[in-house]
Homo-oligomer: 255 residues x 2
């Protein structure tokens, strides 16, 4: 298939690599920033240009990997009547593309994508479309680039995004807080790597609620007290420690 990619950020870059790697032909990369477009185009072996001023090349699919805000203003600049257009955003309705083309949809990668990373992770794709015909087309395309494709509507995609914020954004933030704490206290964060890996691996086998451990769960006042005393030098860390400990107690109460 011939594909035009619009955008040059993490989603555009990683999806571009995956699409090219699956044997498709990326004919054009368009971005607001032409230098970024040029850089990505050189990786993907395509032409490049500006997504507002450059004429769009002919393609089977136009993939808009843009921010929420850019998507909302897209109709002011771009018309692709009768072409198949998709966006890649979790929290934006597919209808944002209605005025670009009647034939529209969504391909949302439920994965954290990092354009600097060489290795491509497994990417579950949540897809949706304006009609069953387009949905069938997108399903066929999505299966060429991922083994994990499911049809998910606007509302459920938003819900998946919320769950993703918990397991990715917030989890990564906890890693970052622990990393900062270790640096500050002069202990080696790297020693926690096996623990982090095991914590993530374990939920493949057990529901997370069943394998919860720690001083909050066992209401170990002695250890909680020692930890909070040690954290008194860092009020932000102490605050989150308290809030999440309370939250653990709440979740494990009989509701």
């Amino acid at each position: 298939m011939k594909i035009v990619i619009v955008g040059s950020g993490n989603a555009a870059t990683v999806l571009g690599k995956v699409i090219k790697g699956s044997g498709h032909d990326i004919v054009q990369v368009l971005s607001r920033d032409e230098l970024h477009a040029k850089k990505l185009a050189s990786i993907l072996g395509s032409e490049y240009g500006n997504y507002i001023t450059t004429p769009y090349k002919d393609a089977d699919l136009y993939l808009f990997a843009l921010t929420d805000n850019a998507l909302h203003h897209l109709y002011e600049h771009v018309q692709l009547e009768d072409k198949i257009v998709v966006h890649t955003c979790a929290s934006v309705s597919k209808n944002v593309l209605t005025e670009i083309s009647e034939k529209h949809g969504v391909i949302y990668p439920l994965q954290t994508l990092n354009k600097e990373s060489d290795e491509l992770p497994e990417i579950p794709l949540l897809i949706d479309a304006s009609s069953t015909e387009i949905l069938t087309f997108l399903k066929t395309f999505a299966h060429t680039i991922s083994d994990d494709v499911s049809v998910v509507n606007d509302e459920d995609r938003l819900k998946f995004h919320i769950a993703a914020v918990f397991v990715n954004n917030f989890t990564n933030h906890l890693y970052a807080m622990a990393d900062d704490f270790c640096a500050q206290e002069n202990i080696d964060f790297k020693r926690l790597m096996p623990l982090i890996a095991e914590t993530a691996a374990r939920i493949k086998k057990y529901p997370p609620k069943e394998v919860q451990t720690g001083p909050a769960l066992r209401q170990d006042i002695y250890t909680l007290g020692k930890h909070l005393k040690m954290l008194s030098a860092d009020p932000d860390l102490k605050y989150i420690y308290l809030k999440l400990s309370e939250s653990i107690l709440k979740l494990h109460q009989v509701k």
Copy 2:
């Protein structure tokens, strides 16, 4: 080496399996609950008994994998003069064993241990001892059961425990909250598995602060608003969403 294991919980069970698997001879399992001791002893091929009433067999090392509270009361029941005794707790000083034996120390597994799990994870060991002689002995022993051994004193072990609470207990709690949310909203938590795995894997290559993403970090008011509205049916989840979003903003401000 001949080892006596005291305890029958997660730490006793997993460390017992690892020690036996490394070719040592576990001669006795003692626990407060004799049925639990019997069960673990049958796995480890040892004798069993009650850790307060049963006479302790002769061994090269006595490993007390007990709770913080049990350790604090141990001296009321157990004397093992001239024997080498260790405990496995993060937040308890090695000195809690002073009255059991002058030759004491700590072998703390910096890992989440689950006695139901068949696979044994990589277990970094943080060790400490009452003298350099005992430390050398424990170091040699620890290296027979783990590739990752380091000497860490009481204070730093407590710090590692705090960091472990963040990357394990709190992270697992976020998984549990997301799992609950998915069940409630009728979407499939399993679809998040690749995202969870990638989030944990990525920090081996990048400092977590550098790979933080999400609506809070980019101050995406539009998406935050959509998420909070969707979460209004679940005040506990909404509260943690807000607190962690605030915390992300705080950590990424210029300090």
